[in-house]
């Protein structure tokens, strides 16, 4: 069983001129146009729910047209009232940037408000996001790991407690509400590095790979599977999530034209300006260790930004075309990576609501039934085992 997360970046599609770099000047944003934009984006999340997508996904980005969810939990709150069946995936709040107790509270609220449908993504954030709240990228991993443990304690400790941490100090905590899912909602973390894979495995939580080729994703998943196997544990496919762009039309060439234009905007206008700030952090700090930098050379977002569409399809970033073509491309990605959750991005760049919605409907009717059963037979989302 393969699950589909309808993941939305909620990008700003109306840029008249390309920002030089990140952060993008706020003057390029038009609040009046954003009113309808948010409305139609939320409609798409609700549509995904009606069409049978398994999850709907939110994320956190700052200071740029790349994504308009500065706070994914605000969006999550809206979704609890519109999305009736699918799980609500926070993929998610950027842990080192935020107060961990506040995040524990907000996620717990979402879990209760959604009747226990929260997927708790614990994200470290793209490198340049560390600049948004002026946190030191060198400390980001340590802060992340400590906040992760603290959030779990917030969800599982029944008595008031204090936290004498390295980066966080609280004298008394007792969060209300507590999550509905016990011991806590399923957790996913991004696992681009070997270190993150080890961290995820220690807690047996799901891992995700985004903005990387399917070969690279498979490498990370295989490492997790191998280390888990060494411990005598076989992780379910649902422990592995892979980010993927999907666009379907009855006319395959029209589909490729649409996605070509939309992804060009995405790569040039949205991703492009970010890369210099991202590289500044990556090159100038310990956000990613030198070993990891060497290991990842030529596989990151900056590579994707220069790739043409056939290359993107070949390397597993995108499935596009007729339903038959998309079934074939997706099947290849799913079988190659062994992924159990496809982080499906349908609304890309300048695509209109109508284009995205039509693609979603066709996908749900003609593709979803044919790819759902791919992969190993398997259980529901990863059962959390990290209590206390």
């Amino acid at each position: 069983m393969v699950l589909f997360n309808f993941f939305h970046l909620m990008a700003w599609p109306y840029l008249q001129s390309r920002p030089r770099s990140w952060p993008a000047p706020a003057k390029l944003f038009d609040p009046a146009r954003a009113v309808d934009l948010y409305g139609s984006y939320i409609d798409e999340m609700a549509l995904a729910d009606e069409l049978g997508f398994d999850w709907v996904g939110c994320n956190e980005h700052h200071f740029s047209p790349f994504g308009l969810m500065a706070s994914p939990t605000v969006m999550g709150g809206a979704l609890t009232q519109r999305v009736k069946r699918a799980r609500i995936a926070m993929m998610g709040s950027i842990i080192p940037l935020n107060d961990p107790v506040r995040l524990a509270e907000e996620y717990a609220m979402l879990d209760v408000m959604s009747g226990g449908r929260l997927i708790a993504g614990m994200i470290r954030g793209t490198a340049h996001e560390q600049l948004a709240y002026h946190t030191n990228p060198d400390e980001s991993r340590d802060r992340y790991e400590e906040a992760f443990e603290l959030i779990l304690k917030c969800w599982t400790e029944p008595e008031p407690f204090g936290w004498q941490g390295k980066y966080f100090q609280y004298r008394t905590i007792s969060i209300w509400p507590q999550p509905l899912q016990k011991p806590h909602p399923p957790i996913y973390i991004p696992a681009g590095s070997v270190q993150s894979v080890h961290f995820a495995l220690r807690r047996r939580v799901g891992i995700g790979a985004a903005f990387v080729s399917m070969d690279r994703a498979k490498e990370q998943f295989d490492l997790y599977r191998k280390l888990a196997g060494d411990q005598g544990w076989q992780p379910p496919p649902a422990n592995f999530l892979y980010d993927h762009v999907i666009h379907v039309q009855t006319d395959g060439d029209a589909a490729r034209r649409t996605i070509g234009e939309a992804t060009t905007y995405f790569r040039k206008e949205l991703l492009g300006p970010i890369t210099s700030s991202l590289e500044m952090v990556v090159q100038g700090t310990k956000y990613i260790t030198p070993e990891e930098r060497a290991r990842r050379r030529g596989v990151g977002a900056e590579t994707m930004a220069t790739m043409d569409l056939p290359q993107q399809i070949e390397q597993g970033y995108v499935s596009v075309g007729t339903p038959d073509e998309v079934v074939e491309q997706l099947t290849r990605v799913i079988k190659h990576t062994g992924v159990g959750v496809v982080n499906a991005r349908f609304h890309v760049g300048t695509m209109t609501h109508e284009q995205a919605a039509a693609s979603m409907r066709l996908f749900a009717k003609e593709v979803l039934p044919r790819v759902r059963g791919l992969g190993q037979q398997d259980a529901p989302p990863p059962s959390p085992t990290v209590a206390g």
Binding site: E159, F161, G162
Partner: protein, 262 residues
């Protein structure tokens, strides 16, 4: 660590208790666990503000047994006598692991004579099926220390270790000691209960039981520490203990400035 601990002895009844001492200010007496009477980096930090006293309990190390000491409560009575002599002006106690039970009995039996109680990785309450003898010795270091590289003192003589272990086994009482636990609701001495988040000997979750049962207990989890919090995170231990000794339950109010620049 510029503080120097001096070694002294005190006659208590028909035994002699050796102790180490440094610093001036309100007295803080360390009631040790199976690890014995050791001066830690955390003690040195606390000695900058407090008079820190680290006695060796009778029956441990090289200190002779005291006749008629059969339980932790008996030992607590002996230590109350020691404390009355060495620090008559309402000292505070740090009870570590097994010492947590002794310090709690001292507090239960003489609440007016104890200012503040700190419980570090207290072994006074343990899971019903708890059995340390089932832990392979090879696993012990990782269960006791999150940061074994921070251990500065050499390991004890095996004979001393065996004697300490035997004394704890004899005195500590059952995992869940109903007679002991029923007293906890009557303890009003301000108490700080500390557990490392990685304690491999006594589960961190035991801390919540004190919070539940004792009206004046605060439970704080020390991140990145195992059983020996004073070794794993000396600064973190000394900071929170110092703050609690000074301010008790009002230590939940943040009094440090977040002003960036004027």
């Amino acid at each position: 660590m510029s503080v120097t601990f001096s070694e002294r002895t005190l006659r208590v009844g028909d035994t002699t208790i050796a102790f180490k001492e440094a610093g001036t200010g309100p007295a803080v007496v360390q009631i040790h666990g199976a690890g014995g009477a050791r001066v830690t980096p955390a003690h040195a930090l606390l000695a900058e503000r407090y008079r820190v006293i680290v006695p060796e309990l009778p029956g441990f190390g090289t200190t002779p047994d005291v006749a008629d000491v059969r339980t932790a409560r008996d030992l607590a009575r002996v230590m109350l006598t020691f404390v009355a002599a060495v620090a008559p002006d309402r000292p505070s106690l740090i009870g570590t692991s097994f010492g947590g039970k002794v310090a709690l009995w001292m507090t239960i039996d003489a609440p007016d004579r104890i200012a503040t109680l700190i419980l570090e990785s207290s072994a006074a309450i343990r899971p019903a099926d708890h059995d340390l003898s089932k832990i392979p010795p090879s696993e012990m270091p990782a269960r006791v220390f999150a940061h074994p590289e921070r251990v500065t003192l050499p390991p004890d003589d095996p004979a001393v270790r065996a004697r300490n272990g035997a004394a704890v086994g004899r005195l500590i009482g059952p995992n869940r000691d109903a007679d002991f636990e029923r007293h906890l609701s009557g303890v009003h001495v301000p108490t700080l209960v500390l557990f490392g988040d990685r304690d491999g000997l006594i589960p961190t979750e035991m801390g919540r039981i004190y919070r539940e049962k004792m009206p004046s207990a605060q439970f704080v989890i020390v991140y990145d520490a195992a059983h020996q919090i004073q070794i794993d995170r000396p600064e973190a231990f000394a900071e929170i203990v110092g703050d609690f000794l000074e301010r008790q339950e009002t230590f939940i109010i943040n009094r440090s400035s977040s002003l960036v620049l004027t």
